[in-house]
Symmetry: C3
Subunit: 198 residues, 3 copies
């Protein structure tokens, strides 16, 4: 189940990169690079900071899956005028946001790092792919400006995961709590246009 959500999350993140790349009129190389960076950039930065090898370096199925996805999406967009927006993928994106917050926190937790660092690693894992996407696309990262609680959802999801593990709850259940919190809070924030007070 968590495995399926991981795949859904990576697909949603890659698609959000693809959407932005199309807006910037990139060709296949650019579209693939942006989709790759958006989907795997957060986890890659986390692994560099934790001084270990990024997961995709040992598992080519991740970059290959994104390549198949990008080629498939570009062909579909050619064949029919299908408009894909961030709104279309909001549910898989929210699932990925929660799960990656949990898995980033888990990686740091497993190395006995301090609590705040564990939560920060969760937030970096879940949100930094999108930050890198925006930097490469030459705009100020959207989650730093008019986000409807994107990083904030990730923060609470990561904190919940950490709290669960400290209380002795296992990985799967803590990660599920993360996903529920991130997705629920994100849906609420989008529906009511919630923003941070400052």
């Amino acid at each position: 189940m968590l495995r399926l959500i991981e795949v859904l999350g990576i697909i949603a993140f890659a698609l959000s990169g693809l959407i932005e790349a199309r807006r910037k009129k990139m060709d296949f190389v650019g579209t693939y690079a942006i989709a790759f960076v958006t989907a795997l950039g957060g986890g890659t930065l986390r692994d560099l900071l934790l001084n270990r090898q990024p997961v995709w370096v040992l598992h080519q199925e991740y970059p290959l899956m994104i390549m198949v996805l990008v080629i498939g999406a570009l062909i579909i967009f050619r064949l029919k005028k299908f408009v894909l927006t961030e709104h279309t993928i909001i549910i898989p994106d929210g699932l990925g946001l929660g799960l990656f917050s949990a898995s980033g926190t888990a990686a740091a937790f497993g190395m006995d790092l301090p609590p705040f660092v564990c939560v920060v690693m969760g937030v970096i894992t879940a949100t930094f792919g999108g930050v890198l996407r925006d930097i490469v696309c030459n705009k100020i990262p959207v989650i730093f400006r008019r986000s409807e609680l994107y990083a904030t959802c990730s923060f609470f999801a990561a904190a919940a995961y950490w709290g669960g593990r400290v209380l002795g709850v296992d990985h799967a259940l803590s990660a599920t709590a993360s996903i529920v919190i991130a997705l629920g809070l994100r849906m609420l924030a989008t529906k009511f246009h919630l923003r941070l007070p400052m």
Copy 2:
């Protein structure tokens, strides 16, 4: 004493990030991220290049201190119209510039790396946080364009530290020389609007 200067330097760097983030109308998430990157980004890049774990990953007091600072500053700015500019923080910024040039050089020196690499590591530590701040804020890094000898001050401070250590001077005294050189040269450059000839 060096410990106090380190804290002052981190605060000055974080504030320079906060100033830029406010200019770009970022919310709390963006402001904290930019302050974090400006204060800790240079040291983080140095540690990645030296293939070791960034200091803040093991010491959550760094990211927590920046969070307290950002929250405090945002509240103060709300309460009264207090205008903070780069000019206000020029002295703590100069102190940080000198000390981080020294500490970056020290890290490479301790690993017996070649002289020029030691100095480059000092300059990266002291200046790259500001470079990353500008990249994320979607502008060309200011120290690459109209800097009043910012990276140059760091270069001479780092070289002085390296020279001191090679001559057998201890860390504290070499670092003090770095700080004096960086701060002095920076004040002169700012006062007389010194720039590189090319």
Copy 3:
């Protein structure tokens, strides 16, 4: 021979950084930083992803060579109105593109990484310096938009290297094949303005 091509490639990459930095009216610090990042950024990212120390950290002759080159070029540009464009350096740039695709693939191949990851590492090594150059110069990476098959040349060169090694061909011969493919394809693409169909 490969050694000579490596030096030529680094010079070509550094010059392409210098050209862009001059366009953005950077001073010496900015010009050196961009030349450095363009020439060594791709290999540095590859080494970080492979969790090992970047080559230039142990070998100061690389950053020093780039410094001499930048100082020399800036003096020459001062003395006489010499216009250097990307077109002038297209042959050494193509040689570097091929060789760095091969050397990046070789590094991953030597660690028994999966085939697609080996090729991706080759492409990152050869093209990411230019991507970083464009990001720091605040523009969308040119190879993501209107490239005349730049990353594509690198991909086929890297794949050819990998194929050679798998078939038992030695490093030097496989790298030569890479260089011939990258340079040949790049010349064709430039001459006929070839682009990807999507």
